[in-house]
């Protein structure tokens, strides 16, 4: 793997003001309302006016036919920098890395990054039908199982290839549920037992109900600004050590067994100046538990195929060994469309800036948030990661 030239560090550009618009299962509101609530929450948290935010980066599936530009008029803002990230589960990480450069280079001073979606009883089916040309031509006519069916295929293949068993995935889901019990915005508020997990309603073999996220409505957001501005506003902030995005990696792989992180991890650790052993927690993109295992492998926390063994070695709870998805992850909080691409990032900011709503990871200094999205045909095409550090780390 060739590493072109060393990337410029993000220096004194930081992230701050993690906000969550509490999730609801269904909403009559459109996505615009969730963006409005998120932006208002960001302004309130940072004691800023609308006019102070001169950059906006958004991700949303249900805002259509509007996009970021329509939202500016809808919300009455006049930013000088605007971005629309149509990358689903990767939109948080990608919004972050683009906003960092914009602020660092002076194209904007304060960028609001927001992922928001509404959810109505039939909106998921509509999203599926309009998701991509390949999905419409070559996936939907085959049972219309949606992402559940696609990830069932990947899970089936992973289990046979690497000897994972249902109990391994169950352990992750149960640990995340334990973490979610300490997070007020999680939609799931009851402890999950292995028995409930194993015997839940079958969805698409080998997946059962608790392997699948619950679609819902909600929003997540944060602000990117110069450190000096954050300090003058009295905002706790977090540094960004390294980020990556990679699209359509390994097109020759017959089925997805790895993501773009494999191509980027060497540079990520190099830019961050830390190793896998220094990472205190990981917010994986857990749309399905198999993806958590693949991400842990691809980011070098264990070797490819050793995911199941790794699962058996750790507890994954915030107060235990190798905490993941410390607010519960999508599997326990809910998947609010593109907000899911921000969920782990927002939780990581909270963990590293003493703004915890969930159970704190003791003495956490370094955290990793993972983005993954856009299964337009047979695999998730976009992968990203952000390595974050406590301000004084």
């Amino acid at each position: 793997m060739s590493i072109s030239r060393a990337l410029k560090s993000y220096g004194d550009t930081v992230i701050t003001a993690p906000v969550t618009v509490p999730y609801v299962r269904h909403s009559l509101r459109s996505a615009h309302a969730f963006f409005a609530c998120a932006l208002a929450d960001l302004l309130r948290t940072a004691s800023l006016d609308k006019s102070d935010v001169d950059g906006l980066s958004i991700g949303s599936f249900t805002l259509a036919p509007d996009s970021a530009i329509g939202l500016t008029q809808h919300l009455g803002i006049s930013p000088r920098w605007l971005d629309n990230i149509p990358l689903g589960g990767a939109c948080g990480v990608v919004a972050l890395r683009r906003a960092l450069r914009a602020v660092q280079c002076g194209d904007a001073e304060i960028v609001a990054c927001i992922g928001a979606d509404t959810h109505q009883p039939d909106s998921f089916r509509e999203t599926l039908g309009n998701f991509s040309v390949f999905a419409r031509d070559a996936v939907l006519p085959y049972g219309a199982g949606g992402p559940n069916a696609s990830f069932a295929l990947l899970t089936d293949h992973y289990m046979r290839s690497y000897g994972a068993v249902r109990e391994d995935f169950g352990k992750l889901c149960i640990a995340q549920r334990d973490n979610a019990l300490g997070y007020p915005h999680a939609l799931f508020k009851k402890k999950l037992t292995l028995d409930e997990y194993l015997n839940a309603r079958p969805i698409a073999d080998p997946l059962r109900l608790f392997d699948c996220v619950m679609p819902c409505a909600g929003a997540e957001g944060f602000l990117v600004m110069p450190q000096a501005r954050a300090e003058s506003l009295g905002l706790p902030f977090v540094r960004v050590l390294a980020t990556s995005e990679r699209h359509n990696p390994f097109p020759q792989d017959p089925i997805q067994m790895r993501g773009g992180w494999v191509l980027d991890r060497e540079r990520l650790y190099q830019d961050a100046g830390i190793g896998p052993e220094d990472v205190d927690f990981v917010e994986t993109y857990d749309d399905y538990p198999v993806m958590s295992l693949i991400q842990l492998e691809d980011l070098g926390f264990c070797a490819k195929g050793e995911g199941p063994e790794f699962v058996r070695r750790h507890t994954f709870t915030s107060d235990g060994s190798f905490p993941i998805n410390t607010s519960g992850g999508q599997l326990s909080v809910g998947q609010a469309g593109c907000a899911a691409g921000f969920l782990g990032l927002v939780e990581a900011i909270r963990q590293l800036s003493d703004c915890n709503l969930a159970i704190p990871v003791p003495a956490a200094r370094f955290g990793v948030a993972v983005g993954f999205g856009m299964i337009t045909y047979d695999r998730g095409l976009s992968s990203g990661a952000a390595f974050l550090a406590r301000a004084d780390a």
Binding site: F124, R125, L128, G129, V133, F134, R136, D137, A138, V139, L140, P141, Y142, G143, A144, G145, G146, N148, A149, A152, L153, L154, D156, H157, R160, R201, P202, I203, A204, D205, P206, L207, P251, P254, I255, Y377, D378
Partner: protein
Amino acid sequence: MIPPPARGDGENRASQSDAPLLPPSARSRAALGLTAAAALGAFKLQVCTSCKAVQYPAREACHVCLSIKLDWRPADGLGELIAETKIRHSHDPFFRERLPWRIGMVRLDAGPTAIAHLHGECGPAPTRVRLQTRLDKSGQGVLVAFPIDKAADMSDDQQLREMTSNPRSRKILVTDGDTASGEAIVHALVAAGAATVWVGHAQPVQKSARLEALRLIPQVILVALDATESDSVKVLAGEIATRTDILINNSEVHRALAPDSGIDFDLARTEIDVNYLGLMRLAREFGPGMRAHAGDGTAYILAWVNLLSVFALGNLPTRGTFSAAMAAASSLSQYLRAEMRPAGVRVINVFPGPIDDDWNQSLPAPKLVPAALAEAVVAALSDGVEDVYPGDVAQEWLARWEESRKVLEKELGIESESRGARDEDAQ
């Protein structure tokens, strides 16, 4: 062409059948190449004409060299089933009623990975499979994975039955039993396990030894039907249309023209009346009932088969007015197909060359024997295709037509002249 189904008839369950469920049918224009292959029962993949890279899903541009010149080419469909799932929850109403539904991921030897319906005998993964195309109930092409070692009968598969019209246990109307091809089709349907075969006849049964013989078959019910009489078609449709699973329209008339005899207007009018208007009368009277019946939720797809002629593709001057009538009927069948598609009723067109029957005594070999035609009809129903060109002559015409319609037209004109000359020599 087809009026809305009548309501209030106890036998006619139209009220619950207004909107039969179909699988998702939206496709990009590029992906319709798969449907075109499936309509003929062929397996084809998109191949880049520049760098030969195989593409799937269908694209507008080669994923290797970016050329926009992509062709659909025959392929063997061999590959490995690398993952499978049984879908137990679907977002689509059609599949929701048919769960669980098995699909898999197949790595084709040709390169790409395809998601496919799985035949019940397939798997478990990993295992070798062969992909074939099928038309699904919406009339669009889909991929189905079959085991490599083909079992004796693959048709008795729940998922496959949702894409095909196997005659077994079906109630079938053959519009004209009093021809060699009609007789052969009836025998083939009975052999394939049809529950009931209504056999139409325009003449009194007593005048036909053929009908007298058919009457002895237990599954056969002779019914009066004259495709040239609207009332006759209407009366029969009133009795059986909402119970008809498969309609086979084989009513036809034609006669060779003597060389240089000019146009025989009476013959032409009869050919139009039977071959073209006959189809229209059947469509008008049977269409609503069959559309209503299609919503009843039977597993097999209801089908409508038209016995046309390969001469519908290009005019054979010695069968000039017959060719024209069949071209009209072929065009009309596309209209019928469009009207039947929303109900999930499949319209199958059979385009044989000359059949070895009473009509074609003067034509030289090769001619398609009626039994071969009948087999092709049963195969088309069982395999779920839309267009069939049975026999060597029809296949050759199809190839010539696909290569260049204009060249075919010119060749037919010349062949006809030389054939006319040969006929004169023989006299």
